[in-house]
């Protein structure tokens, strides 16, 4: 006969309500871990999606995911000439916002290294990789585009040939993949309206300064194409990604580029590590702190409720002592209740969480490792929570059962 279960049955309402409450807290702990995993995974999907063996970035910067990196476009050709490199291209990932079907559509534009990379490595859930070097795209399902749907971007129209799941940029916008050249075409195409507005703004600035008033030529230039402004350099690129010949040691290629004064190189794994240590790391620590706080709060709530449940049965506990129940039976009664509450709350958190998390706007990725670790933590806080109650129960004298 299990005394813990019998007593729980006796005060079922309170026990169930508390368990659900603690379960919700655990669900949030689980969810926050999942949000972090989601962030990491989203970030890695992009770096892995472009399939780079080597990342070349501006000297002493940590790559396009960590900070601004500016490289001359000509670098692409220089890198392609390095022994061991099969092809090099610029890394293109930028966010655009366009109107589509009357609604604003924000998306990340990612360039794939056609023809070596057609998008086979992407998490495709429908359709196919790219099959031609122009006018096709693979869209993330979160963009709400259907297979075969046609989308006008810049001067050209692109057809959705494949759909991915959970391919999103760090801001959470769905990513669409194009061939590298299409991606650049989209990046540097400015809609007529924005060009007109930019020229107008330039003109207004020029009107306000003495230089503009004394040099009429400046005003003329301000209204013309940007290329004719001498001060404007050709657009810089943020990184060059290179693929290596099969069997080539990335370190040896890195060594041969180590003499270049303007670049720093990272291998794929190094870039991933930088990514995790950089922008994602702060989010990780922030989330970790919240999880620790919530875990402590769960433990405190459990301890309090187990304690009050124990206070409610001090008389029966004194009675049990009176009829000679050994200490381990009484401590076991309280400990088991705490464990039962912990395990049930964990189950409640898991059940609600797995139904709720998919409805979240960003990915909540609950890994089995995290689940296992949380289960261990729940067991520990269950034990800790019971200590206060056990301490109280141990101090009850058997003759308190009489009178």
């Amino acid at each position: 006969m299990n005394l813990a279960v019998r007593d729980i049955r006796h005060s079922l309402g309170r026990f169930v309500l508390t368990t659900i409450g603690v379960g919700m807290l655990l669900m949030v702990v689980m969810g926050m871990g999942g949000i972090y995993r989601g962030l990491v995974d989203d970030a890695l999907v992009v770096t892995r999606g472009v399939g780079a063996d080597l990342w070349v970035v501006q000297r002493d910067t940590r790559g396009p995911f960590a900070e601004v990196s500016r490289l001359p476009r000509s670098l692409v050709d220089r890198i392609a000439a390095v022994p061991g490199v099969t092809d090099a291209r610029e890394f293109v990932l930028h966010t655009i916002q366009r109107e589509h079907r009357g609604k604003p559509l924000r998306m990340g534009v990612l360039g794939l290294g056609w023809p070596t990379d057609k998008g086979e490595g992407l998490p495709l859930i429908a359709g196919r990789p790219l099959a031609q070097n122009h006018f096709e795209m693979i869209a993330d399902e979160s963009l709400g585009l259907g297979l075969g749907e046609r989308l006008r971007l810049g001067k050209d129209t692109y057809t959705v040939v494949g759909l991915t799941r959970w391919l999103v940029a760090s801001g959470g916008d769905g990513i669409a993949c194009f061939t590298s050249r299409d991606a650049q075409a989209i990046q540097f195409h400015e809609p007529g309206e924005s060009i007109r507005l930019e020229r107008q703004a330039r003109r207004a600035r020029a009107d306000e300064i003495d230089f503009g008033r004394t040099q009429p030529g400046v005003l003329d230039r301000a209204s013309g194409p940007a290329q004719s402004l001498a001060a404007l350099p050709s657009p810089a690129i943020s990184a060059v990604i290179a693929r290596l010949m099969p069997g080539t040691d990335p370190a040896s290629v890195q060594r041969s580029m180590s003499g270049w004064s303007d670049v720093t190189t990272y291998t794929g794994p190094q870039q991933e590590e930088l990514l995790l240590k950089g922008s994602v790391d702060r989010a990780r620590r922030q989330i970790l702190l919240f999880r620790v706080l919530l875990t402590i709060i769960s433990a405190v709530i459990m301890a309090l409720i187990i304690y009050t449940l124990t206070l409610d049965k001090l008389h029966p506990i004194a009675l049990l002592k009176l009829i000679g129940a050994p200490t381990h039976v009484i401590a076991g009664l309280i400990l088991q209740q705490s464990l039962i509450m912990g395990v049930l709350a964990y189950g409640v958190g898991y059940l609600i969480g797995t139904r709720l998390f998919p409805l979240f706007p960003r990915r909540v990725l609950v890994s089995n490792d995290d689940l296992l670790r949380l289960a261990g933590i729940v067991l520990v806080i269950s034990v800790l929570a019971s200590l206060l109650g056990i301490w109280k129960a141990m101090r009850v004298a058997p003759n308190e059962a009489i009178g």
Binding site: M1, R6, L322, I323, G324, T327, P398
Partner: protein, 241 residues
């Protein structure tokens, strides 16, 4: 089991507090109870009767004196609480004035738990619990919770629980105070039957003089002093009342 005495105490003394607040609740109390003997303990309130039962029942250690239960010396100077608890669960059954059932266990579970505490398998303890409840006339209430039972039924379940470990000694402190006289007498007779059938020594603290004819021996206590009342005289007193 071959010792004919269920209980023997000698020089049992209990002093509560110290200095100004010192109360001598029990002075040199000596008592012998044979197996199967039913003893009544009379006396005014504050005489020290409960204190005596708590000392004998190994709940409150005496200041001085020894307690021997079923031929085994249980209390002679300090003992560990764990030892005392083991002696209690193996050798003593308790019944108190207020019903002392565990509220979250049904009638049968209240009895069964005692059997399990002394290491009987659950099924054996349960079967024995059912037998006891049947024997005490509350078998039909076995699956009711304590709050669903009347006062008399609760006391019967308590008696069943006190018997569940086949104790050498049953200690009952005013077990019938909350019952009407008919029910009270039934419980007293129950104790006598149990004592005679199982060879258990029973000590019952009572104020109810009408049921004294049930007892084999009667003790009186006043101001911490325990003395045997001539049982014939006491029975006569009881009969007159």
């Amino acid at each position: 089991m071959d010792d004919p005495l269920a209980l023997e105490t000698s020089g049992l003394t209990k002093v509560y507090g110290s200095g100004h607040t010192e109360v001598v609740a029990l002075r040199d109390a000596s008592m012998r109870v044979r197996r199967g003997e039913v003893v009544a303990l009379l006396g005014p309130s504050g005489a020290g009767k409960s204190t005596f039962l708590l000392c004998v029942g190994l709940i409150n250690p005496p200041t001085r004196g020894t307690v021997t239960i079923g031929g085994k010396l249980m209390q002679d100077g300090p003992r560990s609480l764990g030892d005392l608890r083991r002696f209690r669960r193996e050798r003593i059954g308790f019944v108190f004035q207020k019903s002392n059932l565990i509220p979250f266990l049904s009638a049968i579970e209240n009895v069964q738990v005692v059997g399990e505490l002394i290491g009987r398998p659950s099924s054996v303890a349960r079967r024995r619990a059912k037998e006891l409840l049947d024997a005490l006339g509350v078998g039909r209430r076995a699956f009711n919770m304590p709050t669903q039972l009347s006062g008399g039924e609760q006391q019967r379940v308590t008696v069943a629980r006190a018997l569940a470990n086949q104790p050498s000694l049953i200690l009952a402190d005013e077990p019938t105070a909350a019952l009407d006289s008919v029910r009270g007498r039934q419980v007293m007779e129950l104790f006598r039957d149990v004592a005679h059938r199982h060879g258990t020594g029973v000590i019952v603290v009572t104020h109810d003089h009408r049921a004294l004819d049930v007892f084999d021996t009667i003790y009186e206590m006043e101001d911490g002093l325990l003395k045997p009342a001539a049982s014939a005289a006491a029975k006569a007193t009881a009969a007159r009342a």
